[in-house]
Amino acid sequence: MPSMTRRQAYEARQRRRATLIAAGSTAAVLIALIVLIPLTPGWEAVKHSFFNARVFEKTFPGLLNAFVMDVAIFAWCAPLIAILGLLLAVARDIRNPALYPLKLFSIVYTDVFRGLPVILVIYLIGFGIPGLGLPRPWNSPYIWGSLSLILVYAAYVAEILRSGIESIHTSQRAAALSLGLSSSDTMRFVILPQAIRRVVPANMNMFIALQKDVALLSFIGPVEIFRQAGVYKSLMANFTPYVGAALIFLAITVPATRFADHLMNKQAKARS
């Protein structure tokens, strides 16, 4: 192994020092929390109803099972969101005056659905459309709940894609057109592939948010993890199932968020 230069040795010492200080201060805070929280008057009650090991053990497998439904809803919504978002973003970029109505629709659409709370859309569509008295299976809250998520999230994804499209320098467009490519081929083969790559991290964050918002469908019926946790809570008169549900969400969303951050950093580095 080559020996370190003076500079490297100095930096290694500095790093060790910084790590030590960070570890020390973190430990101090943790110890303080562990010592102080149990001293609060309500701690015993909170511990019993939120951090109950017995309840946790009993309900956790059932929660995991219910979470499969969250993942399934996510899995069928995500591709449809991607497709609708892409169509909206492309419609937004239309320059042909004959197709202006499409562009206008895209603008109004994204404004409306980004302007509404997700839960409101879920209520309006999830209760409203089945209220028309549709026959089975068309009155299923799974369908209309999913549709609500798709409609809302497509608006966000379209906005992100649009920012990606706009971030591609006009010289790329000029180069493609100068070769005699049509505007639609220019969009499809030159602009979009670059734009989509550029907004992958932002869209990942969007899809992480989607995975969490699937829980909102529980308000109109589907039995997914949040609803299941509520059932357990009533059965056992204990809030620990909610803590279990939270842990399951975190197990998915934290690594995914880290990964999106990692991609974002990598892109920022590549561009500088």
């Binding site: 180069a175 100068s178 083969f189 030159v190």
Partner: protein, 242 residues
């Protein structure tokens, strides 16, 4: 091969008129150099010839047909007039070869298999046979610019427009790009070049046009314009750049 004729071409951006009436005829096989100060409208003129910018007045004739008609579909015209830019503008998500094959594939309905031989031949001819599968960011500036030229040539254009294609290059890379132009010149390609390379203009140009204040202030053979300019403004410009 067709001649390109500009007649009284005018172009404004907002309130500022950049081109105030340009008349220029490019005969088949000619090489024409546009020189002029920064901001004199060289790039704008080339972009108008490629229909990337619509002109306000006047006409551009290709083989006698007016291609500046506002409601004309520019796509087939652009396929006949290639353009290379100062900043290369390669598509960064495609290999060099894919860059060159995209437009012929999409506009002429040729398959990759059909294009492989002629496109590879272009890469070999310009010394890039071993770089075809590289992405643009894996190539030097000079190599990228040569790929950009190959990409335009793959469309088999009748006329090529070059907009200061060596200005963004390190001095030691300029030569390899100019060699490509020399080779094209020998093949009889019709070319219009905006350039600051006066030596190169002197060596190869059939005609040099000095652009100033939106007009062609002086034109003639390289010897006439560069060595014995008649106009005061040409003299002033040349004394600044030579």
């Amino acid at each position: 091969m067709d001649r390109l004729e500009l007649r009284n071409v005018q172009k404004s951006f907002g309130q500022t008129q950049i081109l105030k009436g340009i008349d220029l005829t490019i005969e088949p096989g000619q090489m024409i150099c546009l020189i002029g100060a920064s901001g004199s409208g060289k790039s704008t003129l080339l972009r108008c010839m490629n229909l990337l910018e619509p002109i306000d007045d006047g006409a551009i004739l290709l083989d006698g047909a007016d291609i500046s008609e506002p409601d004309l579909d520019p796509q087939p015209i652009r396929q006949r007039i290639g353009m290379v830019f100062q900043s290369y503008n390669l598509f960064p998500h495609m290999t060099a070869k894919e860059n060159a094959m995209l437009a012929p594939r999409r506009t002429k309905g040729l398959s990759r298999a059909n294009l492989d031989a002629p496109v590879s031949e272009l890469f070999h001819r310009f010394g890039l046979g071993d770089r075809m599968d590289h992405y643009p960011d894996q190539l030097s500036g000079g190599q990228q610019q040569r790929v950009a030229i190959i990409r335009a040539l793959a469309m088999k254009p009748e006329i090529m427009l070059f907009d200061e294609i060596t200005s963004a290059l390190d001095p030691e890379l300029v030569g390899e790009v100019l060699d490509v132009l020399r080779a094209l010149r020998e093949e009889g390609m019709t070319m219009v070049l905006a350039t600051h390379e006066m030596g190169f203009a002197r060596e190869l140009a059939d005609k040099v046009c000095f652009l100033d204040q939106g007009r062609i202030c002086e034109e003639g053979s390289a010897a006439e314009v560069l060595d014995a300019p008649q106009q005061e403004r040409t003299k002033a410009f040349l004394s600044r750049v030579l």
